[in-house]
């Protein structure tokens, strides 16, 4: 009998005798399932948050922020500066030949969260029609766009889902001003869907911020024009603004969540994997012990130690892989697409969806297989080296 045939025969024996050890096998599968579920839930949360924030930034859009501001909520740009920026080189033009420079005002207002019924910070962005032109993918999905000069707002689709009283036609009060919700917009699942948008002039007036913007958003002819724009801002003492690409700005903001995942998700999963390992080892030691007779008999009739080793290891790997798949499935059913919200770096709510990508599933299966290998290798070693006489003596 060739070695390959021997291995196949012993592995088949291992798998066929599994029903005799249902409790142990099942406990290993369940343990690995839970480990993978917890890990993937965390990773899917991080992935979803990052996707929302990263997806908000384009490489061919530049932001002018006050130097050192870090976040747009802290920034300010005057109307005079905005005029100077319109003269800058490398800026794309709209159909009528005007430079695509959008001065935007970002104020924070209170909204009532559906989940907790408590007040939470919502960003109200004063924007002109140029602002929508710098954001490809902007689409009104219900109602209509706000009319310039009117107390009207359009709400991001995430705001509609997570906050009370944001349906089309309802009125909202911010301080003494009253606004009508006239539309709902989508913007490719980006952070802007967590915002309220209204006409810049109206927002400036009603919030007493005449002639002040938070930032200027500029559409570039192509991403390489950023360097020239930076030099332009540096060279003019009246500007001296920080120029960053929108993609970089949001990538930096996404990092905070990555930190949380790395500090919480992985250690937790590794800790739980150690627990699962204790269970897997136990199951496999029991498996070897219960088959001691069988293994010894095989050795007597000429089987080598390697088939016993491989058979045991494969049994362990199969159980772990099953757990890994089950864990991915559970995460997908329970968490994928779930909406959550938290405070972002502008001190306002960011709504995002859990996102279980294939790459994450791969990581989950990987940790399951590691548990399978480590949990199988020691018992398999024992099976391979079991002295024949000893095995018979034990009975």
């Amino acid at each position: 009998m060739s070695l390959v045939n021997q291995i196949a025969a012993v592995t088949a024996l291992n798998f066929k005798s599994m029903p005799q050890r249902t409790l142990g096998s099942l406990s290993t599968v369940v343990a690995v399932t839970l480990v993978v579920t917890v890990l993937l839930a965390f990773l899917a949360m991080g992935e979803g948050f990052q996707k929302t924030i990263r997806g908000s930034g384009a490489a061919d859009v530049a932001l002018f922020l006050r130097a050192g501001a870090q976040a747009e909520a802290n920034s300010s740009v005057t109307r005079d500066q905005l005029r100077l920026i319109e003269e800058a080189p490398g800026i794309a033009s709209d159909a009528s030949g005007k430079p695509l420079v959008s001065g935007e005002l970002y104020v924070v207002v209170d909204g009532i969260k559906k989940s907790s019924n408590t007040k939470a910070n919502l960003p109200l962005r004063g924007i002109s029609l140029k602002g929508t032109a710098t954001r490809p993918g902007f689409r009104i999905v219900a109602g209509r766009m706000f009319a310039p000069g009117a107390n009207e707002i359009v709400v991001g689709s995430a705001v509609l889902k997570e906050f009370n009283g944001m349906d089309v036609g309802s009125t909202v009060r911010f301080g003494t001003s009253t606004w009508t919700v006239v539309g709902v917009f989508d913007l490719g699942g980006s952070i802007f869907e967590s915002e309220l948008w209204a006409d810049i002039d109206v927002v400036q007036n009603l919030f007493q911020r005449q002639n002040v913007f938070q930032l200027a958003r500029v559409k570039l002819e192509d991403p390489s024009k950023l360097v020239a724009l930076k030099a332009f801002s540096e060279g003019d003492p009246k500007l001296k603004l920080e120029v960053v690409s929108e993609a970089d700005y949001y990538a930096k903001q996404a990092r905070s969540m990555t930190g949380l995942i790395q500090k919480l998700g992985w250690p937790l999963a590794i800790a739980m994997a150690l627990g699962a390992l204790a269970g897997a080892l136990n199951t496999m030691y029991n498996s070897v012990a219960s088959r001691a007779h069988e293994i010894a008999t095989l050795r007597c009739i000429g089987f080598g130690g390697l088939p016993a080793f491989v058979g045991t290891l494969l049994e362990s790997l199969a159980l772990a892989a099953l757990g890994g798949l089950a864990g991915s499935l559970v995460t997908w059913l329970l968490f994928d697409g779930m909406t959550a919200s938290t405070l972002g770096s502008n001190f306002t709510q960011v709504v995002f969806k859990f996102d279980l990508s294939p790459f994450l599933v791969l990581q989950g299966i990987l940790i399951a297989l590691v548990v399978g290998v480590v949990g199988g290798v020691f018992p398999a070693w024992q099976a391979a080296r079991m002295p024949v006489l000893h095995a018979y003596n034990r009975s």
């Binding site: 802290n74 924070v108 800790a271 204790a278």
Partner: protein, 385 residues
């Protein structure tokens, strides 16, 4: 050969398995300890030091909107308001933008009066702070973290405001004193400096404040006073919303949102899972010893002694793994968590709950196999294998 020796030997018969179980239990209780402390900090709503004797007034639109300084004098006139102080968020940081500081520009004397029972400041340092408008007070925790000492000059930067006098975002301060908390477990306050100094140096944002804190007379009705303050500014361009400090802090923390809830759920699930896995392993580990237990019985071990042996082994495992886990959680709280969320500490109730869980865990995992072991029929037990 006493019972404890037997328990110990039984536990360590398969070293790798025993170590793995201990590590798993250790980690489960570490997770429990850290999470429970975090929740304590979160739920107590003491994030910024909450009490019913203080009210917080902010703009009705949102607390990030500023209010005119003229409001302060009118609030001071409300019946039952003992003292009122305004405060501005400064967006301060030390050297690097990532070293963000809780730092407020305040009316020094009324602010310290409003927080007189929360903060302890040496009288000489307090006097020095009040006398020098370019000075500031720093909380003990921050002073220790960065090695700041009284008398040091301290350049700090703002990510919001610009300084007219330095023509940059830098302000130069002198440390006048250290703020200690009245109780060691209380959350640390913020860096405090003079609002007047802020007002005369900023390039924009003068004559405004972000929030006001009111100390109300003992026994006064906070809700009535809050209503009276808000009524003063009703229908004005700068309407206010006044709340008890505790409620304000709780609402603030709630903004972190269901992420906290999700983390709690997932972490609790992890805790239960680890214990389930270890419990199951424990049950199987004892079941495989049926034959030995029959031998012990043959040797004359009583049923009660067998029960005690097996239960004791499970409890020993739970405590050996769990107690160090809780201890490490205390360290984690002190070193890392308290900075993230002030007020996260391992309280006695949390420690006792943890020990209770360990005992319950030991009993649950030990009881079924122990009862089985106790009931083992010698002949049947020896016949196994």
């Amino acid at each position: 050969m006493n019972d404890f020796y037997l328990m110990r030997k039984n536990l360590s018969r398969k070293k790798l398995r025993a170590i793995l179980m201990l590590v798993a239990i250790f980690i489960a209780f570490l997770i429990f300890g850290v999470l429970a402390s975090f929740q304590h900090g979160f739920n107590a709503g003491t994030g910024l030091g909450g009490t019913d004797s203080r009210l917080i007034t902010v703009s009705k639109i949102n607390f990030t909107q500023s209010l005119p300084v003229a409001h302060i004098a009118r609030i001071a006139g409300v019946d039952g308001v003992e003292t009122v102080a305004m405060a501005n968020w400064f967006g301060g940081y030390y050297q690097e933008p990532s070293n963000l500081l809780a730092m407020y520009a305040v009316d020094p004397e009324p602010y310290l009066k409003a927080y007189r029972d929360a903060y302890v400041i040496a009288p000489a340092e307090r006097a020095a702070f009040l006398a020098d408008r370019g000075s500031l007070l720093v909380p003990e925790g921050l002073a220790n973290k960065y090695g700041w000492k009284v008398g040091d000059s301290l350049p700090l930067l703002s990510n919001i405001f610009s300084n007219k006098t330095t023509n940059s975002h830098r302000w130069d301060f002198t440390i006048a004193g250290i703020i200690h908390t009245a109780h060691p477990d209380d959350p640390q306050g913020a860096i405090l400096f003079h609002h007047a100094y802020f007002d005369e140096t900023v390039t924009f944002g003068r004559d405004k404040f972000n929030w006001a804190v009111e100390r109300i007379a003992p026994g006064a009705d906070g809700d009535r006073i809050a209503g009276a303050i808000d009524l003063l500014f009703a229908n004005s361009p700068s309407e206010t919303a006044t709340q008890q400090e505790k409620a304000f802090n709780r609402a603030f923390l709630a903004q972190i949102g269901n992420i906290a809830l999700i983390v709690t759920l997932v972490v609790s699930a992890a805790f239960c899972t680890i214990l389930m896995i270890v419990g199951n392993t424990m049950i199987m580990a004892i079941r495989e010893r049926t034959k030995e237990i029959a031998v012990l019985k043959t040797l004359g071990f009583s049923r009660g002694r067998i029960l005690r042996l097996v239960l004791g082994e499970a409890l020993l495992l739970a405590l050996l793994g769990g107690v160090p886990g809780l201890l490490l959680a205390v360290v984690v709280d002190k070193v890392a968590l308290a900075k993230l969320l002030p007020g996260s500490t391992m309280t006695w109730p949390i420690s006792l709950t943890g020990i209770g869980f360990m005992l319950a865990f030991g009993l649950v995992t030990g009881l079924a196999p122990a009862l089985n072991a106790m009931r083992i029929n010698i002949a049947a037990g020896l016949a196994r294998f």
